[in-house]
């Protein structure tokens, strides 16, 4: 039996592609600004089979976000639809049904009503529609995760702008231009947390 999930942890199930990177950074910034801790499958060190690691990650997180906004087929030759995000959503739903009260999942989309066509089994589930924009992602996160003294969307957007402006420096530091790289991800989280003005001061040592 896995340990109880970390109440701050959010499993982020998003497409790992260049065009999604702005929204990916918005998810990181938004979650950290709401006092939540994002986790990615790419963050877990290797060793075990990838699927096993993803299942363990889902089990260890209290929440998960599944962005199904990039379901369209790529125009490149041998165009292949993306199945990873729906697969991981399916695993999450199974985990949540078997362990009621231990996990809450959210589905995000960029277009209203498209989910009814792409995954009709989810009919009855109201997705968070972010319109494919950074502001939309921040707005939807703030609506989904409600807490007192949450920063406003413009406040979150200010921090997003700063973190995004540091992206090239973070790439340079890590010797990669892949925003989904584990080290880049941790740097982006660290920068956001360092800029967060919403966290209470550290407790004094006793």
């Amino acid at each position: 039996m896995p340990l109880l999930p970390d109440l701050k942890s959010v499993f982020l199930n998003v497409p790992y592609d260049e065009e999604f990177s702005s929204l990916y950074i918005a998810y990181i910034v938004g979650l950290c600004q709401l006092g939540l801790v994002p986790h990615l499958a790419s963050e877990i060190p290797g060793g075990e089979r990838r699927l096993t690691r993803i299942i363990q990650l889902i089990q260890s997180c209290r929440y998960s976000i599944h962005d199904l906004s990039r379901v369209e087929v790529n125009v490149a030759p041998s165009a292949t639809p993306r199945f990873n995000m729906p697969l991981e959503l399916g695993m999450t739903i199974t985990w949540q049904v078997l362990n009621p009260g231990q996990h809450t999942w959210f589905v995000c989309e960029s277009e209203p009503y498209r989910l009814q066509r792409s995954a009709s089994d989810l009919n009855g589930t109201d997705p968070c529609i972010h319109d494919g924009t950074v502001v939309g992602v921040l707005r939807e996160l703030r609506s989904a995760f409600r807490r007192d003294r949450a920063p406003s969307v413009p406040q979150m957007l200010t921090v997003y702008g700063l973190v995004d402006s540091a992206l090239n420096s973070v790439f340079k530091k890590n010797g990669t231009r892949n925003p989904y790289n584990r080290s880049v991800f941790l740097d982006l989280c660290s920068l956001t947390v360092s800029l967060g003005t919403f966290y209470p001061p550290a407790k004094p040592a006793v």
């Binding site: 702005s22 413009p154 941790l186 989280c189």
Partner: protein
Amino acid sequence: MPRPVAHITAPWPTQDEMEKSLRISKARKRALQPLVDELRAKLSNRKEVPVALIEPEKRRKRASAA
């Protein structure tokens, strides 16, 4: 089914608690400190970013650079 909402009633985590949950090492923090200082300076000199300014331009630029 209505859209799920998470009402978070736990106290806000401190910066230390966030960093611990993210497993951010001291070395990583140290390496990022100059960048953090630079961004904090920008933050203190900056007003909120107008929502309308951030989107299409940046995305177009990224897409054309790729």
